[in-house]
Subunit: 262 residues, 4 copies
């Protein structure tokens, strides 16, 4: 493969795909409330701005600025909480074709705010789309992770699983991040002491900003154009409420024969 | 939503999608060599058989039966190993539209064999497809996890990340698994002592066998039919060798303005 | 080994160790506020009660009942939050020889409340004990994880790391948990429909309740009796403020000679 | 605390603890066979040499150089494997007071070799020490993680859990590591292009080399001097074979009263 010259590339996105009718929602899960600055907001903003430059409608939320209740019901005011910003945010989630979560790292882990947002997505997972599938079917998800030293992949593991488990499609390379050398140090976007900003010249981060943007856009456009993922075999409302099985037999009829395991 | 009756469902997969030209490769990463039985082989076989019943060509490999070398080169015989089964397996990987890894759990973790397979996929990640993208672009991935007590989601987190990072598309609900109550106990497919087999009547496992099968098939068929993921913004061979940037500006021009973070 | 008869065992804890002067703090990180019941409270209570039966002073907190602010300062009222219950809770943390975190599982992950408690422990990690070590030196930590289906070990991995990284000693088998067979189902302590309670007859959970209790008690008593962990090589206040190095040379003088890695 | 001057520190390790009779075993889980160099060997060697300088007997093994079989029996030659280096290595494990695993990172994960070593430790976990406890009781464990960009904490989470679950005591700060800025780049000990070696001047890594060494030595010496962890409540051979319960009642008698959880 290394000896093969690269194929020619198009100089514009495919015309049969429409990116301008896509909506993306970015939820920054920093621990820091506005108007204080956030390192994660900088990297998240880069991806958001690249999407905007291609006509995508992008909304950005900083979760900690909203009084999102804690718990496993779609609306925690029904469980005794005085207020809950989640139902309104969830409307934005449902309106978006693309969901991107952004999180800093503390002790190598995504933030408690990010965990709460994932919990609330899960608390709303009883919602079906209009085809009877879990609500994120036909939508795509990505994430952005920043820190000063370690944990981008660990946080990504959790988010890749959680998003696909909820029903989002996870395209290739759906994430970007920045961390520095191990130990305390500067974070993405800090002054580097030499007139520049930390991380802004990192070619790997730029590459992934580009990759995640286009993978999210292509996949969202492909799915949107074709009307989502086929219902056959995937409509869990039909599975749960109508006992629809699409011909899938019981496990006993599917598993192969083999000797008893010791 | 609970009050809305489910929408009617089709009684056949969409005719515009062709499933019969798909190829799937299942790699069972059990620690146990053939011909000894494998619990993971049973659940994996259920998904494989369901795919076969819809005309998909399915190959199943038990990795431990092959002398897959350890290391980070595509062919470790070039690094002094006497033999290496990986290059031949990698040809199967490249021929498949769908890759499914199966793994048991030990100490709540995927097996060393599964980790080795992921390492070797990574060792081959310098390969591009014929559009200049990472080799898994346009392909989809899923996984199967079995154990007697805990760890399905932990193993899934790692595999969801690794597969999407390599370049696979991860559709919604691309996995299935079985574990029993905490503590030592029987595994999937063991005699249950009452004339049945452990796990075969677990409705959640059956649901996920169905879901993972159809999500993998639908997504693979969608991507195959349209010729994969558009190259614009995603051709890393072009990025690396031709400095193609598709108009993506430097990070300094993408990040938003905000006050310096303290 | 299997052929060796077990050695005789003492019928009482070692008299040279004093357990009655130990203090333990349990922080239940359920998402559910009092007075609603909590499955985690049941298993946590079992360990707490076993400790109490041996004379240990035990306090139990349900974190969600307290207004613990979000952020990385020891007292977030100094960062603009109207209130912050953490500083008072941290006093209890510092008074305790044993810290046990309890968490349910959602999507296979510890709760957002648990993540927040870990963040706040980390936010207080600038505190030294009276020997100049990180504040948890000489203290021990354990955890309890409950859910209906999967994730005990995943949550344990994170907590084992976080606690030891903060400075707690993690004794052998410092945890217990309960989960049921994969899929939606009953949780620990639910009526089992047959006149009993789910999980109460699980021998593995009982074994681990016993093991974690005694490992925590033995290790806390050993460390307390000897006055903690020696300061030599471990006093980070001295390292940071006095440049004390205890004779440890630079890395360049410690690493072995070997050829340059390719 | 910041205002308190650091306490005076001893200029020698405590004389009541004997470090010179300790044995440590380091298992380097690099993917690279000897005599090729290993980045992990460099950092591991730094800790090993620091221990040696204090009179500790240290053995270092590179696991990939030994034909360690794959599987869950203590000796896989009894399961049809032609050879298995594990039983001999396990003798060294049992002879050591301190076990340190070293692993590189690939895709943010410990290596397959490291996973195999953990599996084999687990395969030997039926062994009791001479007090009837799991074999690692009274021993301590640490780890070293190196990579070029991300994953030290993720690998640490798994190893902290696995070691404590097996029965090792995990002291505070039992690990050290090095990674660089996100993206492909140099690894620990590579020529830095400016006459030095990458990572050798990282103060955080040096601090942790020092911390892990002394925490492992102190804890091993404390436990060795007192003859390990008391058997009361922790002798699982007695629990399993003699039904010894040390007065621990059934769970139903330990859990607190609370209303039924909804």
């Amino acid at each position: 493969m290394p000896d093969t010259p690269p194929p020619p590339t198009p100089d514009a996105p495919p015309t049969e795909l429409d990116y301008s009718n896509l909506r993306a929602l970015f939820i920054n899960c920093t621990l820091t409330r506005s108007p204080k600055p956030s390192h994660t907001a900088l990297l998240q903003g880069a991806v958001a701005n690249l999407m905007r430059s291609h006509g995508v409608h992008v909304d950005e939320i900083r979760a900690i600025d909203h009084r999102i209740a804690t718990g496993m019901s779609p609306d925690m005011t029904e469980e005794g909480w005085g207020e809950d910003a989640w139902p309104a945010i969830f409307e934005q989630v449902q309106a978006a074709d693309i969901l991107v979560l952004g999180t800093p790292l503390w002790l190598g882990e995504k933030t408690s705010v990010c965990t709460r947002v994932v919990e609330r997505l899960y608390s709303s997972s009883g919602a079906y789309n209009d085809r009877g599938q879990f609500f994120p079917y036909g939508k795509v998800a990505g994430w952005i992770v920043t820190g000063n030293e370690d944990g981008v992949k660990h946080a990504s593991m959790n988010l890749a699983f959680s998003m696909s488990h909820l029903g989002y499609t996870v395209p290739p390379n759906p994430d970007s991040g920045w961390i520095g050398e191990i130990g305390p140090g500067k974070s993405f976007g800090d002054d580097d002491g030499e007139g520049g900003k930390v991380g802004y010249d990192n070619g790997f981060t730029l590459r992934n900003v580009n990759l995640m943007t286009w993978n999210l856009l292509h996949m969202a456009a492909i799915l949107k154009q074709r009307g989502g993922i086929p219902t056959f075999g995937t409509g869990m409302q039909q599975w749960n409420e109508l006992d629809e099985r699409w011909g899938t037999p019981p496990l006993a009829d599917l598993v192969p024969e083999q000797p008893q395991v010791d």
